[in-house]
C-alpha cells in the first residue's frame, strides 16, 4: 500500500537538499508540481500561469502556460520521481511562454532507489516573442543499479526570446543516459544557452546530443558540456550549432575529464549554412592532474574524495 504523504515528504526533502530552496514546496507564493510515478501528489499555480496535468498509464501529460506579460518572480519547482527500485515514468510536457513573459523552472528528477527503471521526459517548449525561459533539470539517482534516462526536448524560440537549458546529473549513478535536445532559434535576435553537467561512474554510459539551429537573423547560441567520467564509464558528446541566418553567432564548448579506464568521445560540430553566420568550437579531453589530487591528499583526503572534490568544482 502506498503512503502518499511519505512519498511526498521524501521526494520533496531530496529536491530541497539538491537545489531547491527549503520551503519552496508548499509555499503560497511558489508554483510547484510533485509527481510520484504517474500520480500527481501536489500541484499549485498562481495567477498568470495555467497548469493542466493528467495522469496516464505510466506517467503524466502536462501543459503549462505562462500567460502574456506574466513575470514569475520565484522559480517554479517541478518534482518528478519514484521511490521504487523498478518501473517506468514518462513525463510528456508542453510548455508555452507567451509574449513578454518570463519564468525560471527547476525540475527535480529523483530516483534514489532505482535499479531497473526508465525515466523519459518528452518536452515541447515554445517561447513567444520577447519571453525568457530558464529550465534547470537536476537528477538525483541512488549509488547502485542502473536507470535509463531519456530527456528529449524540442524547443522553438521566437523573436528576442531567450532560452537557457541546464541539465545536471552529478549525484549517484548516471545509469544509461541519452540527452537529446533540439532547439530552433528562428526568431530574430533570439538567444540560446544549453549546458550539460554529468559525472559518470562505474559502467555508466552517457550520450549528449545538443543541436541548435540558428535560423533567426542575429540569433546566438552557446552549447556547453562538462562531463567527468571515471572507472569504466563511457561518454559521447555531440554538440552542433548551425548558423543558418545572417549575423547568427554560435559556439560549442566541451570539456571532458576521464579517470581510470573511462572513455570519452567529443564531437563539436559547427556548420554555417549562411555565409554571414559565425560559429566556433572548442573541445578538450584530459585527466585530472596528479598534482591536484595529491595536493588534496596531503590535506588528508582519500584519492576518491580528492577526485570528487575536484569534480565538484568542474561541474559547478
Amino acid at each position: 500500500m502506498h503512503n502518499l504523504s511519505e512519498e511526498y515528504k521524501t521526494l520533496v526533502s531530496i529536491a530541497e537538499r539538491t537545489g531547491g530552496q527549503p520551503g519552496s514546496f508548499g509555499a503560497e507564493d511558489v508554483i510547484y508540481v510533485v509527481v510520484h510515478g504517474n500520480r500527481i501528489l501536489a500541484s499549485h499555480a498562481l495567477p498568470g500561469v495555467r497548469i493542466e496535468a493528467a495522469e496516464t498509464g505510466d506517467g503524466i501529460d502536462a501543459r503549462i502556460t505562462v500567460q502574456a506579460g506574466t513575470k514569475v518572480s520565484r522559480p517554479v519547482h517541478l518534482c518528478f520521481g519514484h521511490l521504487a527500485a523498478s518501473g517506468r515514468q514518462v513525463i510528456r510536457s508542453r510548455i508555452f511562454l507567451e509574449e513578454e513573459s518570463s519564468a525560471e523552472f527547476q525540475a527535480h528528477c529523483i530516483f534514489p532507489n532505482a535499479i531497473e527503471f526508465l525515466h523519459a521526459m518528452e518536452g515541447e517548449i515554445h517561447l513567444g516573442p520577447g519571453s525568457a525561459f530558464s529550465y534547470r533539470e537536476v537528477h538525483v539517482h541512488g549509488p547502485d543499479g542502473r536507470i535509463d534516462v531519456r530527456p528529449v526536448s524540442r524547443v522553438r524560440i521566437d523573436e528576442k526570446a531567450v532560452y537557457r537549458g541546464d541539465f545536471t546529473l552529478v549525484e549517484g549513478r548516471v545509469g544509461n543516459l541519452a540527452i537529446d535536445i533540439d532547439v530552433e532559434a528562428h526568431g530574430r535576435r533570439s538567444r540560446v544557452e544549453v549546458t550539460s553537467k554529468i559525472y559518470g561512474k562505474f559502467d555508466d554510459f552517457c550520450q549528449v546530443r545538443d543541436i541548435v539551429r540558428l535560423t533567426g537573423a542575429e540569433s546566438t547560441a552557446l552549447i556547453k558540456a562538462r562531463v567527468v567520467l571515471k572507472d569504466r564509464s563511457q561518454g559521447k558528446f555531440l554538440g552542433l550549432v548551425d548558423g543558418a541566418a545572417p549575423g547568427a553567432r554560435g559556439h560549442v564548448d566541451c570539456t571532458e575529464v576521464v579517470q581510470g579506464e573511462a572513455k570519452a568521445v567529443a564531437s563539436p560540430v559547427v556548420q554555417a549554412s549562411h555565409p554571414e553566420a559565425e560559429v566556433t568550437h572548442e573541445a578538450a579531453i584530459g585527466r585530472i592532474a596528479d598534482e591536484k589530487i595529491q595536493g588534496l591528499m596531503a590535506k588528508g583526503l582519500s584519492a576518491d574524495a580528492a577526485i570528487d572534490f575536484v569534480v565538484s568544482g568542474l561541474l559547478r
Partner: protein, 250 residues
C-alpha cells in the same frame, strides 16, 4: 641526552627516470623545531619534500622514513597526512570552480568564518578572498598565500613548506616568515625547503643540500655562512669544516 625526533630520515635514495635524485639522505626534525633545507636549484630539495610526503613517483628505492617512531616508508600520502604531515607546494594547483572558503575548509571542516578570515589575515589577505575561486583568477603568489593559510588552519604536526616565499611579494614576505614562528609556537614542527639563505636564516637549524645529498648540518647562521662563501651552482666538492656545523659530504 639525545633530542626526541619527530621525523627521522635514514639513507634515503630516490631514483626517477634512471637518475638518482636523492642519494643517501639522512636528516631529522625535532618537535616544535623550524628546520631548513637550503640548496641551489636542482639540488633535490623538492624531491626530498615529495618523498617525505609519500608521493608514489618519489617512492624510495632504499632507506627508511620514521615519523614519531613509526616507520612510514610504505605509507601513502593520505595516511601520512592523517598522521599529521602536510606539504605546502611550491606551485599550488588551481581548482576550477572551487571557492577559497571551501578549499580552506578542507583543512579545518568545522572552521567558522572568523577562523578563515584570521588565517587569511596572517598572510595579508582580505576576507573578500573567501568568495574568490582557487583558479586562474588568482595569481601564483595569491594561491601560495592561500596554501599557507590552509596549513595554518590544519595545524599539522609537521608542515613541509616548499619554497614558501616564491611568488610572494616583499611586503607579504615578513608575514610569511612570521607564519613559521606562529606554526611552531602552536606546536607544529616546520621543515622549510628554500634556495634563499635569508629564509633559511629564520630557522632554528638547517641542512645544506647539493646534488641529491646533505652536505652540511648546523645552526642556520653557520649553514648560511657556508652557503654564501662556498656554494657554487651544484658542484660536488668536499666542503671545509665550519666549526659550528657537521659536514657530511660523501
Amino acid at each position: 641526552m639525545l633530542e626526541p625526533q619527530m621525523l627521522f630520515v635514514k639513507d634515503l635514495e630516490v631514483e626517477r627516470e634512471g637518475n638518482r635524485i636523492l642519494r643517501g639522505i639522512s636528516m631529522q626534525v625535532h618537535p616544535g623545531e623550524i628546520c631548513g633545507v637550503l640548496g641551489r636549484n636542482g639540488a633535490g630539495k623538492s624531491s626530498l619534500a615529495y618523498a617525505i610526503m609519500g608521493l608514489p613517483q618519489y617512492a624510495p628505492r632504499k632507506g627508511r622514513i620514521w615519523f614519531d617512531g613509526e616507520d612510514i616508508t610504505e605509507w601513502g600520502v593520505t595516511e601520512r597526512a592523517r598522521a599529521g604531515i602536510t606539504l605546502a607546494w611550491q606551485h599550488p594547483a588551481r581548482y576550477e570552480g572551487i571557492q577559497v572558503r571551501d578549499y580552506l575548509k578542507l583543512s579545518k571542516p568545522d572552521a567558522a568564518v572568523e577562523d578563515l578570515e584570521e588565517a587569511l589575515k596572517l598572510v595579508q589577505m582580505e576576507p573578500f578572498y573567501l568568495d574568490r575561486m582557487v583558479d586562474k583568477g588568482l595569481s601564483g603568489g595569491e594561491r601560495k598565500r592561500i596554501e599557507l593559510s590552509s596549513i595554518y588552519l590544519m595545524k599539522p604536526r609537521l608542515a613541509i613548506l616548499d619554497e614558501p616565499d616564491s611568488g610572494v611579494d616583499l611586503l607579504a614576505l615578513g608575514e610569511v616568515m612570521g607564519l613559521f614562528k606562529i606554526l611552531a609556537s602552536g606546536g607544529s614542527s616546520v621543515l622549510i625547503i628554500t634556495h634563499r639563505e635569508d629564509v633559511a636564516a629564520a630557522c632554528d637549524r638547517s641542512y645544506l643540500m647539493c646534488a641529491g645529498k646533505m652536505i652540511l648540518e648546523g645552526s642556520a647562521a653557520a649553514v648560511k655562512r657556508y652557503f654564501l662563501s662556498q656554494c657554487e651552482p651544484c658542484v660536488e666538492q668536499k666542503p671545509e669544516n665550519t666549526g659550528e656545523a657537521a659536514l657530511n659530504h660523501a
